[in-house]
Structures are given as C-alpha cells and as structure tokens.
Amino acid sequence: MGGHMMNRKSRSFLRAILSFAWREKGRRAAWRMRLAAMACLACMSLSAQAVLGPGVLAGFAGDFSSRIAAIEALGVEGGETARRVLDALEAGRLGVIGERVVIVGEEGVCDAASGEALPDVPETPVETVTVNNRVRRALANARAAFALGGEDAAARLAAAHTLGEAASPAWLPLFERALAGEKDEAVRGALVLAAARVNLSSADPAVRRQAAQDLGVSPDAAVRNLLAGLLAKSGEGTAAAWVEPDAGVREAAAASLRAIDRRIALAETAGTVFTGLSLGSILLLAALGLAITYGVMGVINMAHGELLMIGAYATFVVQGVFRQYFPEWIDAYIIAAIPVAFLAAALTGVAMERLVLRHLYGRPLESLLATWGLSLVLIQAARVTFGPQNLELANPGWMSGGLGLAAGVVLPFNRIVIVFFAALVLLLIWLTMQKTRLGMFVRAVTQNRAMAGCVGVPTARVDTLAFAIGAGVAGLGGAALSQIANVGPAMGQGYIVDAFMVVVLGGVGQLAGAVWAALGLGIVSKFLEGLAGAVIAKILVLLFIIIFIQKRPQGIFALKGRFADD
C-alpha cells in the first residue's frame, strides 16, 4: 500500500512539474523538462531514495530561475527529504556554503541533501537562499501538489483552490485522478471547478458545455470574467465572430454567468454593508466615552483621543508581557489587554478629573483649553517614553485572516470581532446606565445637576466615576483600534474630530444618539466611498453633517423640555 501511495504521489508530482514547465518556460522548455522528468522518474523507480542527488540542490546556489528549476526538480524527487528542503526554503532556513546546500536548524547546520549534521560549521556566516514572489508561487504550487495527495482534507481543499486558480491544461490529468479517488465533497467541488476551468478551452464542444455548466457554482470573479469573455465577439462590424463558436456552450455560459453575477452582487452588497457596519462600530467605540463625559459634565474633552491612545499602548504593553513571559498564550493577549486598557485609561481619566477638570465646572469652554494642554502633554509623554514610531501589535491567530464570501469579498475576522466587541461594550454601558444605582445618578446629574445635588446625589463622586467610565470606554476603544490601525503617540488625533462629529450628530449626552450616528455615518461613508472615492466621500459626509445639524440643531435625539435651552 505504501509503495503504491508513493508511486501515485510521485506521479502526481511529475504532473505538477509538467505544468510548471508549461507555464513558466513555454512549450519548448516544457518538452525538455518532460524528458528530464521522465529520466528522473526512471531513476526513482529504481531506488526509494532518502538522500537527494547533489545535482538537484545545486540550483539553489544560482539565480531565481535556477532556484525555481530546483524546486521543480525536488517535486519530481518527492519524499520526506524534498519536503524538508522545501519547508526550510519557505522558512528562510535553507543556506548555501560555497557549492553545498545546507539547512540551518535550531540545533545547528546540516547538509540538505543527506540530512547529516555538520557540527563544524558555525551558524552565522551561512548565506541563506532568498525567495522572491515567483519562487514563492512555484513553491506554493509544489506544496499544493504534495498536499493534494495527502491525508488532510482541509489541506487538500486548499491545494485544490491553489491549483485551480492557476488553471493550466497540464494539471488536468492530476485533477481527474484526484477526483477519482476523492471522497470529501468540498474537495470534490473544488476539483470539479478546477477541472472545468481548464476544460473551458477544450477542443470538444460537449466538454466545453459541461465545463461552462459546472462553473455556474463558482464564487470567483475571475471565472465570471472568463465566462463573459466567451460571450464576446472578436473582430469588427460584420466580420465579428463569437469567441465561442458553439451556441450550446454560449447558452450554458450565459446561464452560469447569471448565476455567478447574482452571487457576486449579493456578496458585494453584504460586503459593503459590513464595511459600513465595521466603520460604524469603530466610530462608536471612539465616541462612546466622549458621549458619556460630555453628557455628564459638559466638558469638551480634547484629550479624549489620547485616552484612546493610552488604551492602545496598554494593549501593547500587555502584548509585550505575553511575548516575554507567556509565549504559549500569546493568542490570548488581547483578552487580557481588555481590562488593562480599561483600567489604564480610567485611572488616567480619574487623575485628569481630580487634578484639572474638577476645578473647571461651570466653565465648560475653559475645559477646552485645559484638555488641549493635557493632550499635548500626553502625546509628548508617549513619544518620549515609547519613541515616536508606531508600535507593532500583531493580530492574534484567531483574529487574522477572514471569512471569504464570493468574489473575493472577505470579512476580516478582526473587524467581525470588533463589531461584536462594540455591541458588547454598548450593552454593558447600557446596563450600567439603566440598571445600576450609579447609572441612575449619572443620568440624574446629566439632566439636572443642581436638582440631583439637592436630593442627595453625591455629584462630585458621580462626576469622577462617570469620567472614569467614559475614559475607560475610550481605553477599550483604543484596544480595539490597535487591532486594525496604527498605534503611535498621535493616533488619537485622527479620531477626535470624527468622535466629536458622532457625539454632536447623535445629540449630546445621548447614548442611543451616538449609536445611530456612528452606524449611520459609517454606512453613509462607505456607500459614498464606493460612488465617489474616499476623498470626496469624506468631504460629502462632513457637509452632510453640517446640513443635518441645520435641520436638527440638537442632534438626532434632542433633549426636550425646559433644560434643553440655555
């Protein structure tokens, strides 16, 4: 059984190589390669090798083209050794000493061909083999060909996608053989699509028609364009002829095209709505804290952006701690960072309130000046402590990548997480405001400070706590922002203007207003960006805000009653 597998595997590698040759070198080179590959195959059937021939690896010492040739040759060789060499190449650990190709491992340097350790070679002076995108592509295809014969269904699926995108005629036998033995439905589907893409240029109209039909389930925009190409005419005027001569194929292609177009349109609409929702959730996180602090104290907090910055820096520090002490838990750092970011920003907020803002009640406009000063100080403090550069914050593994819809529309996981996070924060704030005693006090102070004081609400303490909550929420916003944008000393400045727009548009001090305003602005921005480009969209949104405020001078949710005026 093992021998049989080996044989099948190695033959599929051969196919893989043929296709490379086809794509990369053109027909003549391909013929040469095919001969060489056949020779190799002949050798291979004689010896189930563990040691690679020295000539196979020599190419890695040459230029990129010879490196690609070497990768192709490795594909022909197949087996564990070849896989190890490719792994090392991908990880940037394949080195060259003179003519000799080596693998730089953690334990030391070993010969790539034989696997034997070379204890007398020091690690540092080894020149590692660099990879460019072309080599990387060849590498990806070679590894996909490996994986297609493997045990892991997920890997086979990925491999079928990778190879399907290349859509080269030389792959066809490989697809067909793989289909014959494939049990997994998803992989089968991908293989059928891959084969259909190739078959679309078959000489037989029946095959072409079947292929055009099969492609109807494709989610790929490239396939859509391929089918649309068939329905075009080449040439001019009366001499114009259909690209696809067979009417039956054209009909099948047109039907598939309609199906794909529907799917793409749906995915794109979903994508646009999601981008708007995502932008809205970010605006909300940036503005929610401001809505609370402004609502309670009427303080124009120009340092609000810096509270976001503090949240993001706290996240960075937590990431550093995890990298240093709990590297195995690194993917969880963001969870640990959430309370830290909240506390760091909340404590800064308390300090700001106690030391400065407390003395400015009743003089809201002066608070503008003081908080502007605070913002200058905080930015420069971050710059002096952490340096002026942006800090690197990696998405944890589970927040990297995205959920693919059709036509390349991908909803990145980090954005999905942030949408839910924003909803969660909102829920918590709402619960705090509506269901707790503190929340009730905060609402009372927001509505009528003097009266609240008269009935025994400790307004000073409520102010401090409300400010702490607002600042803490800003810190949470910072932690979320760190996952999608840059983290640097002046990062908050980029959000403060937008945050103020949201608060004002929603109606000062109105949580519900802030939510509607943030989501509305997010979706409108993204919709306009699709129509008019990012710059014009931004300008239009600003003008929209100005005009909207003319209609509702107190925001979406205006306070009603006597305290609404003066």
């Binding site: 402004y294 124009i300 120009m302 400065v356 003395h359 400015l360 003089r363 406009l365 002066e366 608070s367 503008l368 000046l369 003081a370 502007w372 000063g373 605070l374 913002s375 200058l376 100080v377 930015i379 420069q380 403090a381 002096v384 400045q493 203007v497 103020f500 727009m501 608060v503 004002v504 000062v508 710059v535 931004k538 300008i539 600003l542 003008l543 805000i545 100005i546 405020i549 003319q550 209609k551 001078p553 107190q554 925001g555 005026d565 003066d566």
Partner: protein, 372 residues
C-alpha cells in the same frame, strides 16, 4: 441729539489710550523700519529680517485672535473653524502673489507651476482677475466674508448653539482642508502656494517690502482693536452681550439675534481674511494645513490664554503662546509640548480670566492697598 460718528470714535478711547496708540504707531511705522533698514547689521539696535518677519507673522496671529475674541468673547459663539477664514484670505491673496511670479517659475510659463504640471492650458474661472492687486485685496476680505455669511445665515437661523455650532464649524474647516488638498481643486494641493517673487512689482524679500508688510500688520491689528472697542462700547455691542448672556430673554424683548450674530461673525471672518492676506507674503507659504482643525483649536486657545472678551487680552494671548512656542522649539526641541501644555493647564486652573485677568487682579489689589 446724536453725537457725530467721528466724535464717538474719538471718545471710545481715553486720552492715555490715544497716546499709547500713537506710540505704538510710531514704533511700527518709524522705529522698526528705521532699525531694520537704516542701522547697519551688527549695530546693537539693528533689527534683523528674522525678527521683523517673525513679529509680522505674530501680529497677524494677534489680529486673528482679536477677531476670534469678537465672536467668542463678545458674542459667545465659539468657532473651531476660524483657521478656514484665515486661510481663505491667505489663498485669495496668494493667488495674486502666484500671478506676480510671472514667468520666473521653474517652467517659465504664464501659468503657475502647479497648473503647468497638471497640463492645464488656461486659468480656471475662479482665477480670473487674480493678477489685479485690488481685486485680490478685496477678495481676501470678501471671500471669507461671503463664506461666513452663508454659513452663519443658515446656522444662526436654525439657532444652532454651543458645542453644536463649534463642531460644525470644525466640520466646515476640515472639509475645506480635504478639498484644498486635492490637486484638481486648483490651488496647488498639499504644497499650496510658495516661492513668491514680488508684490506690486517690489521684490518680496527686500527689507523695505518686509518693513512695509510689518507696518501694515501692526496697523491692521490696531485697527481691529479700535473697531472692536468701538463695537463693544456701542449699543450694538451691548445687545450682543445680552444675547451672549441670555439669548432667549433678548429674543423676548424683541431683538432678533440672527442679525447681530451674523454681523459680528461675518466681520470677524473678514478680519481673519485680511490677517491671512498679510500673513502669506511674510511667511512665504500658504497651504491647506492652515485649515486643519487643530490650527483652529489653537486660535481658541490663544484667546483663552489671553483672557476672553478683552480683545487686548486675546492679542496678548496669541503673542505669548506663539513667542513661547518659537522660543521653546529652539531651546527645548524635544520637550516643549510639556511646557506649552503645562502653561495651558496652569492658565485655566489659576488664571480663569487669562493673562488680562491677572493684570486686572493685580491692579485691583494695588488699588485696595491704602495709599497704593
């Protein structure tokens, strides 16, 4: 019987004020130009070009601060978009300065360099007439005035107040900044206008030109202060103060705040525009970053530091903040934001009425001491 306007103007300042004014005019018109032009370099009293243009620039900022104080301090309307009017004035006059370059640009063409680069064959319509000095000077005042009038008409009519008004002025200047950043808008994109050569045919780098620009800036500031004082003291000013303190009550009495606010708002924008027009030839550049929200916030900060509602205080605030900035960016290049930020915090905490308030306090205390 109504007092003639000229007499009322004269009465708006006491005798000492007129003397101080005369002294200031003498320094600006005679002292500084003489010290700059006539005295040789190295003479202890010689004023170098650096100082003249720096002071000229600060005088323009002070004018903006006074204009800002007219709307914020006097009428109680906080604008976070005054940088827009300043920049519009600067751009209007900058267009004239660009046209004055003539064929001395790096492409040697009739059109400004950036238009040659964009392959534009002729001036866009809004550049028509920009080669005439008087039109440019008019535009520097009229353009910000017109923008302010239209914006103010709608905003005040809708009774937008407080932070709502502040934030939409911020949105306005932000939108304008983004618009001016675009190359296609026809104002040189991010680079804006620079590399001016001459003004009314005079070399822009000549010491004489510089001295005249300085003197004009000083004159503008003085005129602004006078006008401001006159307005505050007039009946109009008292109505404005009433509207600031209790708008609804003023309305019940029968005043329509719209026209009062609109007038002072438009006037303030026009003064800013003039200051911008004088600022551009002295600094040699106008670009969209003047419209950034942060710049407009800074204008409000100058006024707050100096003391709101005092006009002279606002001017002082602009001077102090900018001099401090100029000084610290050289002596403490990496730490100056701490000092500047610190000053803002200290001023708000301990000097609620700004520097002008400190002065008043000090005088009040001196008056309280018997025999003082």
């Amino acid at each position: 019987m109504r007092t003639p306007l000229s007499l009322r103007c004269l009465q708006s300042l006491p005798r000492g004020g007129w003397i101080a004014l005369a002294a200031f005019a003498a320094v600006a018109w005679i002292g500084v130009p003489l010290a700059h032009l006539a005295l040789p370099e190295g003479h202890p009293l010689h004023i170098p070009a650096y100082t003249v243009s720096l002071s000229g620039k600060i005088l323009c900022y002070m004018t903006v601060a006074v204009a800002m104080d007219l709307v914020w301090g006097v009428a109680g309307v906080l604008s976070l978009g005054h940088g827009l009017f300043f920049a519009l004035g600067g751009y209007a006059f900058g267009m004239y300065l660009m046209r004055q370059i003539g064929r001395d640009g790096s492409y040697g063409a009739d059109l400004p360099d950036f238009m040659v680069f964009l392959d534009w064959k002729e001036l866009p319509w809004y550049w028509i007439g920009s080669d005439a000095f008087l039109w440019a000077a008019f535009l520097a005042m009229a353009l910000p005035g017109a923008v302010a009038f239209v914006f103010g008409w709608f905003a005040f009519r809708s009774r937008i107040k407080g932070v709502y008004f502040s934030i939409i002025t911020q949105a306005l200047t932000y939108a304008a900044m983004l618009l001016f950043f675009r190359n296609e808008t026809g104002f040189g994109g991010n680079n804006g206008f620079t590399d001016f050569k001459r003004i009314l045919g005079f070399d822009i780098t000549a010491p004489q030109t510089r001295a005249v620009l300085f003197a004009l800036s000083a004159t503008l500031l003085t005129a602004c202060l006078m006008l401001g004082r006159y307005l505050i003291a007039s009946r109009f000013g008292r109505v404005l103060a009433a509207i600031r303190d209790a708008e609804s009550r003023a309305m019940f009495i029968g005043y329509d705040p719209l026209y009062y606010k609109l007038f002072i708002w438009t006037l303030s924008a026009m003064l800013c525009g003039l200051a911008g027009a004088l600022y551009v030839p002295q600094t040699g550049i106008i670009n969209p970053s003047e419209m950034s929200p942060a710049n407009s916030i800074e204008i409000a900060v100058w006024v707050a530091v100096g003391g709101r509602g005092t006009l002279v205080g606002a001017a002082l605030g602009a001077g102090i903040v900018n001099l401090t900035k100029s000084f610290f960016t050289v002596t403490l290049p990496e730490y100056w934001p701490f000092f500047l930020g610190g000053i803002f915090i200290v001023v708000t905490l301990w000097l609620p009425d700004g520097v002008a308030g400190l002065w008043r306090q000090w005088r009040a205390r001196r008056a309280a001491v018997p025999g003082g």
